[in-house]
């Protein structure tokens, strides 16, 4: 097998592993990719990412804990989770096709930025009160539960709310804050 066909096969396999949901959460862990593709999987993902760019898609890496400021080590990559996400933003006209009402997205945007402004955690009642300023009360609770179920927000046993895995995978927090303050 030539080097080129070897990599072609690995790239196809990587695309299957990344696109198809195999567990409760989409995406795949680094160590799983290492088992399926070999230890040079970061290189394979880089090539696949170049291919996906043409389709306006990208491979997003969500690290366990904080994102490393320098080039991540293989150990950090093995523990990270990899997803395929859209590369550019979503046109607002497409929101309906995704099953989201404009109110739901605005509520999600407000919730995420509110939690960011509160240093990453806030009490559920505080967030509900904030959302109630613009959304009807009955919708606020329903929406918060929906965001939690989808993995955007998490709630612990003390009623504290945090940003969950899907926000880290899908939302550029820094850009969101910049856009809101503009």
């Amino acid at each position: 097998m030539t080097r080129k066909s070897y990599y072609n096969q690995k790239i196809k396999r990587a695309a299957q592993l990344l696109f198809y949901k195999r567990h409760m959460k989409p995406g795949i862990k680094g160590w799983e990719l290492k088992n399926k593709l070999g230890s040079d999987y970061p290189k394979i993902l880089e090539v696949l990412d170049d291919h996906l760019e043409k389709l306006d898609l990208q491979i997003k890496t969500v690290f366990e804990g904080e994102t490393p400021t320098e080039k991540p080590t293989l150990e950090q990559l093995n523990k990270a989770r990899f997803f395929v996400t859209l590369r550019g933003g979503v046109p607002s006209t497409d929101a309906k096709m995704m099953g989201w009402r404009i109110d739901d997205i605005a509520g999600l945007a407000a919730s995420i930025s509110f939690i960011i402004s509160k240093k990453g955690k806030t009490r559920r009642e505080e967030l509900s009160d904030f959302l109630r300023t613009k959304l009807p009360g009955w919708r606020v609770d329903m929406n918060l539960n929906r965001y939690i179920k989808a993995g955007y927000l998490a709630e612990d046993e003390n009623g504290q709310m945090y940003l969950d895995w899907r926000t880290r995978a899908e939302v550029n927090e820094k850009e969101l804050v910049d856009l809101l303050l503009k």
Binding site: V90, I102, I105, L180
Partner: protein
């Protein structure tokens, strides 16, 4: 060191734990906790810790204090990152932007995960093979003929014996207990908590403390706390008070530990 001083120290450690916990659970500002003061308090209390329970309480306080310091560290770290924004400013901005505009801005930085769920021929073949090998339900769950049982009658005594019915309802018990409290108080207005709750065995004491808590909750009696003398009295009401739900209720945690029971028993025997 006297027992009272020691008890006071343990209460101080307990208060430190509660304060540190509240930073985590209620999301309070971690800098509201004066770490130096707490370390000083723990330093003073530590030499009085002797039993394993006291030492573990001290260790627990240190652990919670470490968590507060970690929160302070995170707070400083967050302030120094580019993500830090004045919360008030950000909240004002969110409130001033119309909903549509907010959603539109969010969608510019939102890159939803792309995922696919699709049946493939290999998985379909595997599923078919599984189906072929699957044992029919009729074989897995054999339909046994229902068991024939002779019908008959049972008495209330038999049901009590089988623990299906209680001999007395809970409220009968509570009423008896209330009468006992009133009898023990007699002409006095009140009785010391431990003098009423304390019994020959620790198990009985726990049961009496449990029943007493219901007497207070359901308005048969009330508690009088004298913090300076560290005394708790129970005052029975002549009639049950039903208007308590309209008033502000306060929970009073009372420790009924084995150690306290032993101490009470020794004092009682003297």
């Amino acid at each position: 060191m006297s027992q009272t001083e020691k008890k006071g120290n343990m209460e101080r450690i307990q208060r430190v734990i509660e304060l540190c916990k509240s930073v985590d659970t209620k999301g309070l500002d971690p800098f509201a906790v004066n770490v130096d003061d707490i370390i000083e308090t723990l330093k003073t209390c530590f030499p009085t810790c002797e039993s394993p329970e006291e030492l573990s309480l001290d260790a627990e306080a240190i652990q919670h204090l470490a968590s507060v310091i970690q929160n302070q560290g995170n707070w400083v770290k967050h302030r120094s990152t580019s993500l830090y924004t004045d919360p008030f400013l950000l909240q004002e901005k969110i409130l001033s932007i119309p909903k549509d505009e907010l959603a539109e801005r969010f969608m510019r930085v939102w890159n939803p995960v792309v995922e696919s769920e699709q049946l493939t021929i290999p998985s379909f073949t595997e599923a078919l093979r599984y189906w072929q090998e699957l044992v029919p339900m009729s074989d897995r769950w054999q339909n046994d003929a229902p068991m024939q049982v002779e019908s008959g009658e049972t008495t209330r005594e038999e049901l009590i014996k089988l623990n299906i019915l209680a001999e007395k309802t809970f409220f009968d018990h509570l009423d008896t207990f209330w009468q006992e409290l009133k009898q023990k108080v007699g002409d006095n207005e009140k009785i010391l908590y431990w003098d009423f709750v304390g019994a020959d065995t620790y198990e009985q004491t726990i049961e009496r403390a449990y029943m007493t808590s219901f007497l207070v909750t359901y308005g048969y009696a009330t508690l009088q706390l004298i913090p300076l003398e560290e005394e708790i009295f129970i005052i029975p009401f002549k009639t049950q008070k039903s208007d308590l739900a309209d008033k502000r209720m306060v929970s009073v945690p009372i420790s009924v530990s084995h150690q306290e029971w032993t101490k009470w028993k020794e004092e009682n025997q003297q």
